[in-house]
Assembly symmetry: C2
Homo-oligomer: 346 residues x 2
């Protein structure tokens, strides 16, 4: 029963009360087989009687020098991680590995504030995963400076960290090559360029001004195709959304279809592509005859909606990142991808 508010029950206390050394109590919890059955039983009794709650995780971590947990640094409010379908797939992969290995998962949202650094540094984890962030994010230096293994998903390339992801530029080039041919007015529906997520329409924006590596590479890939096809990338309309969300993207999809009179859209995710599909349907346009649309990720909805898209496994990439954060030393090549062509007939 115990009670006594203040003096927390400790292993030493249990040891004293059961007439054994602290080490023996420790063994009772960590290697019960090493302890004589009688002793084990008695220690357990005393522990129960005293209300001892088992070894303190923090003290144990200090002594053992590992935390059995990995941290996932998100460059966004945490809500984002739960809303964005890609982030969810990725985190699911991370979580799978965590379960298999019996370790914890620590979510660390960062929003560009001063205190982010402290939150990241003070997380009790053995390794970090950084989810897509901008170039030269100060948090990246903090994380890599901690001397723990770090996996960065979607770049940027960082000293002291392994980068996981597909070849975005190559996939963009190929996707554009599937989407743009024959089009009068090809356009792009893009993720935000930088932390300042403002929805807007730009004509021929310079990819070098894009702070998110994934977005930049995809834009570069589209440019690659344009040049090969004799189109001027500097006249390419690019609509930028504030968030990777089907509903949120509706306004910019409307702009592309109405103001730009587009007939071919490369969207940077399935969600954004769906927004274009929605806009097209509302206007009675046929896909792909009147408007060709394509995206990235090949999530479950992509199949249902018959969307041409870049197939990749965010789940698998999440698993890879988790392994890296756990200190796995096996080399990691670029993740697999392929353009999956479908004919939206719906």
């Amino acid at each position: 029963m115990s009670s006594a508010g203040s003096p927390r029950v400790t292993m030493a206390e249990v040891a004293r009360r059961s007439g054994v050394s602290p080490m023996t109590v420790s063994y009772c919890y960590n290697q019960p087989d090493r302890v004589a059955p009688d002793t084990l039983r008695r220690v357990r009794e005393v522990a129960a009687e005293l209300g001892y709650r088992g070894p303190d995780p923090t003290a144990r971590s200090l002594r053992r020098r590992h935390n059995d947990a990995i941290g996932v640094v998100l460059g966004e409010h945490l809500a984002y991680a739960f809303e964005d379908p890609q982030a969810r797939r990725f985190l699911t992969g991370v979580a799978e590995v965590c379960r298999e290995r019996g370790i914890g998962l620590n979510l660390i949202p960062t929003t560009g504030e001063e205190q982010d650094v402290d939150r990241v540094r003070s997380a009790s984890v053995d390794g970090y995963i950084v989810w897509t962030t901008v170039d030269s994010d100060p948090v990246l230096d903090v994380v890599t400076g901690l001397g723990k293994p770090v996996a960065v998903h979607g770049g940027p390339a960082t000293a002291g960290a392994r980068v996981v992801g597909i070849d975005n530029r190559a996939s963009a080039r190929e996707l554009a090559a599937r989407t743009f041919p024959g089009a009068r007015r090809p356009t792009v529906l893009s993720f935000p360029f930088d932390r300042d997520r403002r929805a807007r329409l730009e004509i021929g924006p310079d990819p070098d001004r894009v702070a998110f590596p994934v977005t930049r590479e995809r834009l570069l890939g589209v440019h690659d195709h344009c040049r090969e096809a004799g189109r001027d990338p500097d006249r390419l309309p690019v609509a930028v959304v504030a968030r990777n969300d089907r509903a949120e993207a509706a306004a910019m999809a409307d702009v592309l279809v109405d103001s730009c009179d587009t007939d071919a859209v490369v969207a940077m995710s399935d969600q954004l592509a769906f927004a274009v599909l929605d806009a097209a349907r509302r206007r009675g346009l046929r896909v792909p005859e009147d408007v060709a649309v394509s995206g990235w990720d090949d999530g479950p909805d992509a199949r249902r909606e018959g969307l041409t898209t870049v197939t990749q496994s965010l789940l698998e990439q999440g698993r890879t990142c988790a392994l890296i954060a756990l200190g796995d030393r096996a080399p990691v090549g670029a993740a697999a991808w392929a353009v999956t062509v479908r004919t939206s007939t719906r």
Copy 2:
């Protein structure tokens, strides 16, 4: 620059090399204002030179006796938390509070295995949130036995834990009262009854056999209405789904519409209700004229689809749970809810 692989740089080391006591170095990191500017500068230089990475979070936690983190125990694979819309709203609320207070969020999936207990116990957190679980879940005893604040969402009532959630029974009663009147064959589309998530159809199942409190209460509420309306609850068909997922529920929705020839369905979530809507549409049935359908949660899609549903804020409930887990002592009443009536005309 430093390097030296093994001997980790410690605060004491920095102290020695800069000719001050460890305490002074500690102050440099925790209360820089308390240290003379010159000293501060010099210590920082030495630290940088040695490659000292700042106070070790684990050691600090041990000494300070708090971890600046809360744990969320999920009675499911972690993937679930990212896929289930309700869980996501809830976790978003939890995450909001975490950000505001600058603390970490630890996700702890449990799947009924032996090792769950260890994972829960070994998490370095200051408090716990338990997401909807079954009655007498052993993990509940473990969590409440840790002497840290515990919030349980959706029951069951547990000694040593505060329960957060709406009055499911009352809301179910009222929702049934909106949905069933005039129906020839009212039915229920239900969450799983217990951990063994088997999709199936039952006729008049006994609510007392349902292990999940939320599900049980809702079923009881429907029974309440039936009795008041002179219907025999023991003849009420209840279709049970394996997962709270629109697509997953399709099969059971078909069963209700086809085999049961239902014309009024109370579904336990918007997702399940949508599955019924889908089934009805495919058969050309009008809603609500031919089939009345209602659900719970009032998520964004519910409005779009014109679904009658129980409005509640899982986000707000998540926030409340987080506050409790952080040791907030303010009393918590039952969460707010209301039946929102809409006319599905789509």
